[in-house]
Symmetry: C2
Subunit: 341 residues, 2 copies
């Protein structure tokens, strides 16, 4: 089905656009009362993902309610370790917790590639429902975590300020780290391929914990696996968002991905200098949306002026915070949508 709004794809393909497209990370999320209503019906975050009807419903909310230029399938990067045999629970205050973690080489043997009947099917089914209900209004993004980020959760077992247990492996036993990263990479390629078969128009790889690593460690333990995924996944445009990897913009720009995401610490002018001509995504500080309308407009326009026209997919520099008022997010979206090159 032909897309009625393909702005985001046109930017990724280097084609001309009349204005920048815009979507928001975590746009299907807790800042929306309508999302909270579905979550209450579902009973939990995990139930929303496990039930494709719920996942599809919240995926479509930002399109219907906010008018973003792309949808992103509602899921979680940690469904992949679960499909590999490492289940997790989502605790209300603490976030994701893995009752068992991967601590050494023997544990890797217990992991497997996603089977044909894994929990990933819930998300794949949700993708099909969303594509049907979108009827080509906007493109649908699929996503996965970068292997280092998935590794961090699988070896740390939970969120952490330092992820020191995960990082310790990189210095104590790099061979183990590479073996686990390899397995995660293979599983990720399978999962993203399935997402594309199910209908996503574009994918994003989230390296949420890139910023925990030194440049040297990231080049050794994250980049090669992102590259392997980018090389294996073809047919749809790819976005890499490596939060905190300001130290490796050049290397990110050389990956086989059409778009590089910037967090709000990163300077678009610096990125343009380091990877000229590359399409960039980002990067408004999510906290700008606490400001009043005039401030949000001012900051959004300032950000727009720092990117290259036609080479910019507008987004926040990180996920939208749960206590942002939807009307504030609308000011951001409308400012971008009324902007003209």
């Amino acid at each position: 089905m032909a897309l009625q709004n393909d702005l985001i794809l046109r930017v990724a393909r280097g084609e001309s656009v009349e204005r920048p497209p815009v979507w928001m990370m975590r746009q299907a999320g807790r800042y929306l009362p309508e999302y909270r209503a579905v979550r209450a019906r579902a009973g939990s975050f995990r139930n929303m993902i496990a039930n494709p009807e719920f996942a599809a419903e919240v995926t479509l909310q930002p399109i219907d309610l906010m008018g973003t230029d792309a949808a992103i399938i509602f899921s979680d990067i940690l469904v992949l370790p679960e499909a590999m045999g490492l289940p997790y629970v989502m605790e209300e205050q603490r976030g994701p917790v893995f009752p068992e973690i991967i601590s050494g080489t023997p544990d890797i043997e217990k992991l497997h590639l996603p089977s044909a009947s894994s929990n990933l099917n819930d998300t794949l089914e949700a993708i099909q429902i969303v594509k049907e209900q979108l009827s080509g209004r906007v493109p649908l993004l699929g996503f996965a975590g970068a292997p280092w980020t998935i590794f961090a959760y699988m070896t740390e077992g939970k969120g952490s300020k330092t992820f020191s247990r995960a990082k310790a492996h990189l210095y104590q036993n790099p061979a183990f780290a590479h073996a686990l990263l390899d397995k995660i990479t293979d599983a990720t390629i399978i999962y993203l391929t399935q997402q594309i078969e199910a209908g996503v128009d574009m994918i994003q790889i989230f390296d949420s914990w890139a910023g925990l690593l030194s440049r040297d460690a990231w080049l050794r333990f994250s980049l090669p696996y992102i590259q392997k995924i980018c090389n294996a996944i073809q047919g749809v445009p790819k976005i890499i968002f490596a939060k905190g990897a300001f130290y490796a913009l050049k290397e990110l720009g050389e990956c086989d991905a059409q778009v590089i995401g910037l967090d709000w610490n990163m300077n678009p002018m610096e990125a343009k200098k380091q990877i000229p001509g590359k399409a960039l995504q980002g990067n408004l500080d999510p906290c700008v949306l606490y400001g009043d309308e005039a401030e949000i407009r001012r900051q959004t326009l300032q950000m727009l002026s720092e990117f290259e026209p036609g080479k910019h997919i507008v987004n926040l520099g990180h996920g939208i915070y749960p206590d942002i008022q939807p009307d504030k997010a609308r000011v951001f979206l409308e400012t971008v949508k009324s902007y003209r090159y």
Copy 2:
């Protein structure tokens, strides 16, 4: 009294040294069994700071036990808000918590500059004891938080992944933010002046939460106050450590401070390019100390090779983690101390 080991001061003054000096952030800390013993005697972290004898004892431990080239007075950046009228408690799992926070302009009126009989006297007394007991063996560092970092705690009330309540003020009410930052700055200048009068040989300003801000926000809400402090504090060398402020190395280098600290995400080669000739401090990933001896040596030597000889004060890129074995830290320290330019 003449210092027997003044390596760190010589680097700061641009004088020649035969090897780089080394100390560790949080070197008086939980990784040392001897520190934990004092803490057990004191009963709590806060009691250690409030009792100058305890504070002096743990300040001296890394000199006696580890052989670092500088001591840093054991205290906490949050003693300053307490001296301004905003007390805090230290909770075992959560860290610092302020029962009352600063939420708007009227709250600023309740704050005052440190009085002559404030809690800061505990730390000032500890400085005098340490200076006496050091007998000139190594220099003693004093420190304070950067105004933005202190602001973040005073307005957020506790540690936070996003500090979104603190950051919201910057976009919602910048006049309030500047008024509070001004007051914190004035208090900080008083406190650092007192530390110098009490005997510290050098000071470090910690902008621990610089990385929460965009470059633009940091330039507006953090840098001017660091500059004001640097201009006001004269007579001892100054180090600025702004964690996450990779986006403003040039501006940091232009401050009236002799040394710029780098965290482990920052690239020494890039820093040398941006602020040539400036003395730098850092920046080994604290997680390297989880590795075996050979790995620690390899990584330390690699780091040493990336800095300019004579322009380098060796440190970790952040505080040492509490579960590091002291012997691992010794490998790091000895590798630096046996290095020759």
